[in-house]
């Protein structure tokens, strides 16, 4: 028996990973198939009707990075939020409240676990969609894509943790997801370029942080974006920092955890 001080968060991360891996059909395969259905339907209906980036890119090639990022974001949120709410409702949260885990340990484990799940699902979607758009393998800016995938999944993992902490029942978490996360994701330019929108909706889209995640991530695949990727990166990084600090503060106070 050997004791490594401060290493508890690694076990919590391992538990988070093992948790979704044990139900991989539900947590990895199912979202990949759902996203593939989006691709098949939207590309079939819109490929010949929608022009993006002045016709420089096929609609399906435009759509794929958006769908990959949407999968990353949604699954990162799903992982941390479902893990937290299940632990709260079943009462087994006590197993991680009793050990000497710090607020930062909690945060790191839950958010990294969510990031891993989001990115694994995103990779799965990417690999499958390559059959439809093989040219996407030649990514002009892979590190930009990676940076947005990491930051985007961290933000949604953090939001999932916050949602899971806040909600006292599944119903409340579903409201958080259906009235906040899903609209922000769907209205972020996954399925269209915001330049195709009327000016009012274009302006409104610029207030949606998810738009910058999708647009910046797409830049990594296509070399084209609605706004400069550096601006998107700055906004996404600022959002990530703000959310992380807020969550860490709430965890330190024991918000909804220690009464």
């Amino acid at each position: 028996m050997s004791r490594v001080a401060g290493a508890g968060w690694l076990t919590l991360l391992y538990k988070e990973l093992l948790r979704f891996w044990k139900v991989a059909f539900q947590t990895i395969l199912a979202p990949v198939i759902t996203t593939l259905l989006y691709l098949l339907i939207f590309s079939h209906v819109l490929e010949s009707r929608v022009s993006v980036f002045n016709g420089e890119v096929r609609y399906t090639a435009f759509l794929v990075p958006g769908l990959v990022m949407m999968s990353v974001l949604q699954n990162a949120f799903a992982n941390s939020s479902s893990s937290m709410i299940q632990s709260k409702i079943t009462g087994n949260l006590i197993f991680i409240l009793l050990p000497p885990l710090s607020p930062a340990d909690f945060f790191l484990a839950y958010v990294l676990g969510a990031m891993v799940r989001g990115i694994v699902v995103g990779l799965g979607v990417f690999v499958v969609t390559l059959f439809f758009v093989p040219s996407l393998i030649a990514m002009p800016h892979p590190f930009w894509a990676l940076a947005f995938a990491l930051l985007g999944s961290a933000i949604l993992g953090t939001l999932g943790l916050l949602g899971g902490l806040w909600a006292d029942k599944f119903d409340q978490l579903a409201a958080f997801q259906n009235f906040l996360i899903t609209p922000l994701t769907f209205l972020s330019g996954v399925f269209y370029s915001i330049h195709s929108l009327p000016p009012f909706w274009q302006t409104l889209s610029h207030l949606n942080p998810f738009f910058y995640m999708i647009d910046g991530f797409r830049y990594g695949f296509l070399g084209l974006s609605d706004v400069p990727p550096s601006l998107s990166l700055a906004i996404v990084a600022a959002c990530s920092l703000l959310l992380s600090l807020t969550t860490l503060l709430l965890l330190k106070r024991g918000w909804k955890l220690r009464h």
Binding site: M1, V4, S87
Partner: protein
């Protein structure tokens, strides 16, 4: 709502300490404060000198808690559950100790079974195992034997006694008062958030003086009505001062022609003490502040 009203008590290292009280007395809240699950509005709590808020890492390392609720993580097997719990305390390569825990809790054959497939009693024993994985010097057991069958309860207590002999401090809450009487060297009784008794088990038992007689009959003699301490159907419990009073009781029964179906002397037990103290319901001087 105030769950604890100025509780002040110290448990010495190596003690087997009982925490008794009716539902809602504040036992679980007190344990939750010690474990850092609940934050006290005022005052402080320390485990082996480590403050549970400002030095929570060391206080939690020193403490193993068996929670009252039967909770488990349905994703994992028994062994995984124990290994993961060890890891939360930064402990690796804990297989030997986990094997020993599984053996003592009679769970070896279930080591690789998923938690969902276990009976309530088995899940309870895994909770005990989880509290012990990091070999804490202080072990808190909040109703650990609820739902555990008699034989396994005996095994569990033999294991906990061994841990106590090895130097672990044990704090126990239980509704089985005979368990507390047999195991605990000292007992605190809580009522409505107050410590209403705090003494050695021996001294507490001595608080209920005299003897009691359990009589099964149609009625008790008229002169003995005032001695009835409890009455349920044909079963009467009467208090007597000395053994010689038994002769007077028998004589009175004979004179009034009351047939005795059953008669037995009852020795003082913790239940009587508990009922007496809970009935009084005031904080004892020096026990609470």
């Amino acid at each position: 709502m105030q769950a604890l009203a100025g509780v002040s008590l110290a448990v010495e290292q190596g003690e087997f300490f009982g925490l008794l009280g009716p539902n809602g007395a504040g036992k679980t809240t007190l344990i939750s404060v010690l474990a850092g699950l609940t934050r006290a509005d005022s005052g402080s709590a320390r485990v082996l000198g480590h403050d549970v808020v400002s030095d929570y890492r060391n206080s939690r390392r020193a403490l193993g808690v068996v929670p009252q609720e039967l909770v488990f993580d349905p994703f994992f097997s028994v062994r995984e559950t124990l290994a993961i719990q060890s890891g939360y305390f930064g402990i690796r390569d804990n297989g030997d100790w986990i094997d020993e825990i599984l053996h003592h809790l009679d769970l070896t054959s279930k080591a690789d079974a998923n938690m969902r497939s276990l009976s309530g009693g088995m899940k309870r024993r895994v909770l005990v195992g989880q509290a012990l994985v990091h070999k804490p010097p202080v072990i808190v057991l909040d109703e650990p034997t609820a739902g555990v069958d008699v034989e396994l309860r005996q095994n569990l207590w033999a294991f906990i006694r061994k841990l106590n002999r090895d130097g672990h401090t044990i704090i126990l809450t239980t509704h089985y008062l005979e368990e507390a009487e047999a195991l605990c060297g000292r007992i605190a009784m809580l009522k409505s958030g107050l410590v209403v008794a705090l003494d050695t088990t021996k001294n507490l038992l001595a608080r209920v003086s005299g003897l009691a007689v359990r009589l099964v009959a149609e009625r008790v003699p008229g002169a003995w009505q005032s001695r009835v301490t409890s009455h349920e159907g044909r079963v009467f419990t009467l208090g007597i001062e000395r053994y010689a009073d038994l002769e007077a009781l028998l004589a009175a029964l004979r004179v009034e022609g009351i047939a005795i179906d059953e008669l037995a002397l009852v020795e003082t037990d913790l239940e009587q003490v508990f009922l007496k103290i809970m009935g009084a319901g005031r904080a004892l001087p020096g026990a609470a502040e």
